[in-house]
C-alpha cells in the first residue's frame, strides 16, 4: 500500500481514492464508516463520517455523523473534522461540533500515514474514556445548525 510507506509522499488524490475504496469496502472493525459527501466531488475534499457509539457508554446505540474536510495539503496536513450530530464530548465545541485539533492526538500529532479512519476511530476511543463515557448527551438526532 503505497500510502502507508513512511517517507514517501503520496499524491493526495491517490491517497484519497484509496480511502474512498476502503470506506466502501468496509475496511476496519465496522464501528466507523466514511465516504465522500458527494460522489461527484472530483476534488475529494468533502467527506462524511459515521461513528457508532461504543457500548457501555452514554454514546451507546447512537450514530454520530461527521463532516471531514481534506484540504489541499492532505495527507501532509490533518483533515478538518466536525460533528454534525450533536454530541457532548471533550474536545468538541458545544456550539458547532468542531473538533479541537489539540484534543485529539491523531490530529495534534498528525502523520501522513494516518487517515480519516484513524481519526474516526480515535474519536470513538475518546468516547470510551472515563472522562467522556458518562457525559450527559443531548437528545438523539439533533444536529448542529451552524
Amino acid at each position: 500500500v503505497l500510502a502507508q510507506t513512511g517517507g514517501v509522499k503520496v499524491p493526495r488524490n491517490f491517497r484519497l481514492l484509496e480511502e474512498l475504496e476502503e470506506g466502501q469496502k468496509g475496511v476496519g472493525d465496522g464501528t466507523v464508516s466514511w465516504g465522500l459527501e458527494d460522489d461527484e466531488d472530483m476534488t475529494l475534499t468533502r467527506w462524511r463520517g459515521m461513528i457508532i457509539g461504543p457500548p457501555r457508554t452514554i454514546y451507546e446505540n447512537r450514530m454520530y455523523s461527521l463532516k471531514v474536510e481534506c484540504g489541499p495539503r492532505y495527507p501532509e496536513a490533518p483533515p478538518f473534522v466536525r460533528f454534525v450530530t450533536k454530541i457532548n464530548l471533550n474536545g468538541v465545541h458545544n456550539s458547532n461540533g468542531v473538533v479541537d485539533t489539540r484534543a485529539v492526538s491523531a490530529l495534534a500529532k498528525w502523520q501522513n500515514s494516518y487517515s480519516i479512519r484513524v481519526v474516526l476511530q480515535e474519536l470513538r476511543r475518546l468516547m470510551m474514556c472515563k472522562e467522556n463515557m458518562k457525559l450527559p448527551q443531548p437528545p438523539e438526532g439533533q444536529i448542529y445548525t451552524n
Binding site: G30, M50, I52, P55, M63, V68, K134
Partner: protein, 493 residues
C-alpha cells in the same frame, strides 16, 4: 413498408431491455461489528427493500436496522444506486435493540485484545451471569495497555459504572497490584469489606475464580488434590470463612509460625518429620480428606519435603500428618502457604490443599479499597463472578507464588501438628509472606527444652511417643491438656 416512427414498439422495447435490466443482482456485504453476511439484492432496490432482505438474514425487525454506507445513513426511501452501492461493496449495519442491549449492534468485537499475556482464555469459560447487555465483550483499550490484574476481563461492562475508562482502569489495576505487594495490612482491611465477604461466602464463585486461573489450572494438574479440594464445597466454605475472619487467620498464622519454627529447631526433628511424611503421606492424605468437613486444613498433608527443600517451587500437595489422622496435619500449611502467594485483588488468594481460596492476607490496599471506585468495583464483582475469575489471573499472582517458593522460611513453616494451629500458621504465614518474604520466626529455645516439664508429664502418663508428645506440645503451645487430647485423638483407643 414499415414506418419507423418514434413509437416503434419493437425498437422501444429493445432499447428498454438494453438500457436497464431490472434483474441485475449485486452482492453486497452487510457487516456488523460482530457479523458479516453477503446479501444478493437487485441493484435498483430501494433501501427499504434491502432492509427487508437484511432483516430476514439477521433475524431482526426492519425498523431496528440502521444502514450506513460511506459515512452516511441510508434512509428507507433512498435507493442503493443513489448512494453508489455496487457489487462487492460493504454496508455497515447497526441493529438497534432495546435501549441498552446491543445485540450484534454496537458491541465491540474484541474484548480481550488488551494485550494480556494470560487469562484471556479464562475470560469466558464459565457461564457469565450477565444478561444480554454485554455478551462477553468489553471495552477495547489501546492494545498497549500493560497486562495486569484485570486485563483478562472479558466483560468490563460492569465497570463502566465506576466511571473509569479502560485506560484508567488498567492503571488502577496496576496500582492495586503494587499496593497488594507492599502492604500486608491491606488484606485485613479488605476482608472487612462486606462486599468481599459476600463474595467469599459464595463457594461456587470462589471455586470458579480459582479454577479459571491458568496458574491454578497448572497447579491442579500437578497436584490433583487441589482440584479435589476445590470440589469440596464444605472445605471451601470453611476456608472462605477463615478468609473472611482476618483476626482468626492472623491468630492461626502466628501460632502456626511459632510451631513451625520450634519444630525446625529440634535436632533431627525435621528429618524425623520428613521420614514420617514419606512413610505415611499416602494414608494420611486419604485420612485427612475425610476430615475435610471438620477442618479445612485437615487435608493438608504436609509437604515436609518442600519444607526441607525450600528451593522447590511451591508444592501444593498436602503434607501428611505424622501425628495421626484426626485433623492434625502439619504441612497443610505448607501447601496453603505456598498457594497463598497468589493473591487476588478481592482477597482471594491462591488455593492450596487446605486453603482452596488461597486466602491472601496481603491486602488489596485499604486506600485502594476505600475509594469509591473500588467500592463499586466490588459491587460489580459480586454481581459478576466472572470478573473475579478474571482478576485472579493477574500476573502478579504468579510472582507472589514465586516469591513464596523462594522463601525457605515460609516453606519450613508448613509443618504443624494441630489443625487449628495449622490454620493459624497458615494465616500468619501468609501475612508474613506478603509483608515481604515472611522471615521465619526464630526461636532460640528448642521446644524440647521449653516443654521439658510437659514432656515428662506426658511420658509419666503413659504417652511414650516422645516425638508425638513434642509435636503435640508444640502445636498446643505447651498446653498439656490440649496436647493430651491431640495425642489421644491420634491414637486408636
Amino acid at each position: 413498408m414499415a414506418e419507423n416512427s418514434g413509437t416503434d414498439p419493437t425498437v422501444d422495447s429493445n432499447v428498454v431491455e438494453n438500457a436497464a435490466s431490472d434483474e441485475t443482482m449485486i452482492v453486497v456485504t452487510v457487516k456488523t461489528p460482530k457479523d458479516k453476511e453477503e446479501i444478493a439484492i437487485s441493484e435498483d432496490s430501494s433501501v427499504a427493500q434491502f432492509k427487508e432482505e437484511i432483516s430476514k438474514r439477521f433475524n431482526a425487525k426492519q425498523d431496528q436496522l440502521v444502514l450506513i454506507f460511506a459515512g452516511k445513513i441510508l434512509k428507507d426511501g433512498d435507493t442503493l444506486n443513489q448512494h453508489g452501492i455496487k457489487d462487492g461493496l460493504t454496508v455497515h449495519l447497526v441493529i438497534k435493540t432495546a435501549p441498552k442491549a446491543t445485540v450484534g449492534g454496537t458491541s465491540q468485537s474484541s474484548a480481550s485484545s488488551s494485550g494480556t499475556p494470560q487469562a484471556n482464555s479464562s475470560v469466558n469459560p464459565s457461564a457469565a451471569p450477565n444478561d444480554s447487555t454485554t455478551p462477553g465483550t468489553g471495552p477495547t483499550p489501546a492494545s498497549t495497555q500493560p497486562p495486569n490484574l484485570l486485563s483478562g476481563f472479558g466483560d468490563l461492562s460492569s465497570l463502566s459504572g465506576m466511571g473509569m475508562g479502560s485506560a484508567n482502569f488498567m492503571e488502577m489495576q496496576q496500582q492495586m497490584q503494587r499496593q497488594l505487594m507492599s502492604n500486608p495490612e491491606m488484606l485485613s482491611q479488605i476482608m472487612d469489606n462486606p462486599l468481599v465477604q459476600n463474595m467469599m461466602s459464595n463457594p461456587d464463585l470462589m471455586r470458579q475464580m480459582i479454577v479459571t486461573n491458568p496458574q491454578m489450572q497448572q497447579l491442579m494438574e500437578r497436584n490433583p488434590e487441589i482440584s479435589h479440594m476445590l470440589n469440596n464445597p464444605e472445605l471451601m466454605r470453611q476456608t472462605m470463612e477463615l478468609a473472611r475472619n482476618p483476626a482468626m487467620m492472623q491468630e492461626m498464622m502466628r501460632n502456626q509460625d511459632r510451631a513451625l519454627s520450634n519444630l525446625e529447631s529440634i535436632p533431627g526433628g525435621y528429618n524425623a518429620l520428613r521420614r514420617m511424611y514419606t512413610d505415611i503421606q499416602e494414608p494420611m492424605f486419604s485420612a485427612a480428606r475425610e476430615q475435610f468437613g471438620n477442618n479445612p486444613f485437615s487435608a493438608l498433608g504436609g509437604n515436609l519435603d518442600s519444607g526441607v527443600q525450600p528451593s522447590r517451587t511451591e508444592n501444593r500437595e498436602p503434607l501428611p500428618n505424622p501425628w495421626g489422622p484426626p485433623g492434625t496435619t502439619p504441612s497443610e500449611i505448607r501447601g496453603t502457604g505456598a498457594s497463598t502467594t497468589t493473591t487476588s485483588s478481592a482477597g482471594g488468594t491462591a488455593p492450596s490443599a487446605s486453603n482452596p481460596l488461597g486466602i491472601n492476607a496481603s491486602g488489596l490496599g485499604n486506600g485502594v479499597f476505600g475509594s469509591p471506585g473500588m467500592q463499586s468495583l466490588m459491587q460489580q464483582i459480586s454481581e459478576n463472578p466472572q470478573l473475579m475469575q478474571n482478576m485472579l489471573s493477574a500476573p502478579y499472582m504468579r510472582s507472589m507464588m514465586q516469591s513464596l517458593a523462594q522463601n525457605p522460611d515460609l516453606a519450613s513453616q508448613v509443618c504443624t501438628t494441630s489443625a487449628l494451629s495449622a490454620q493459624q500458621q497458615l494465616m500468619q504465614q501468609m501475612l508474613q509472606m506478603f509483608a515481604g518474604g515472611g522471615g521465619g520466626s526464630s526461636s532460640t529455645v528448642t521446644p524440647e527444652v521449653r516443654f521439658q516439664q510437659q514432656l515428662d508429664q506426658l511420658s509419666a502418663m503413659g504417652f511414650i511417643n516422645r516425638e508425638a508428645n513434642l509435636q503435640a506440645l508444640i502445636a498446643t503451645g505447651g498446653d498439656i491438656n490440649a496436647a493430651i487430647e491431640r495425642l489421644l485423638g491420634s491414637q486408636p483407643s
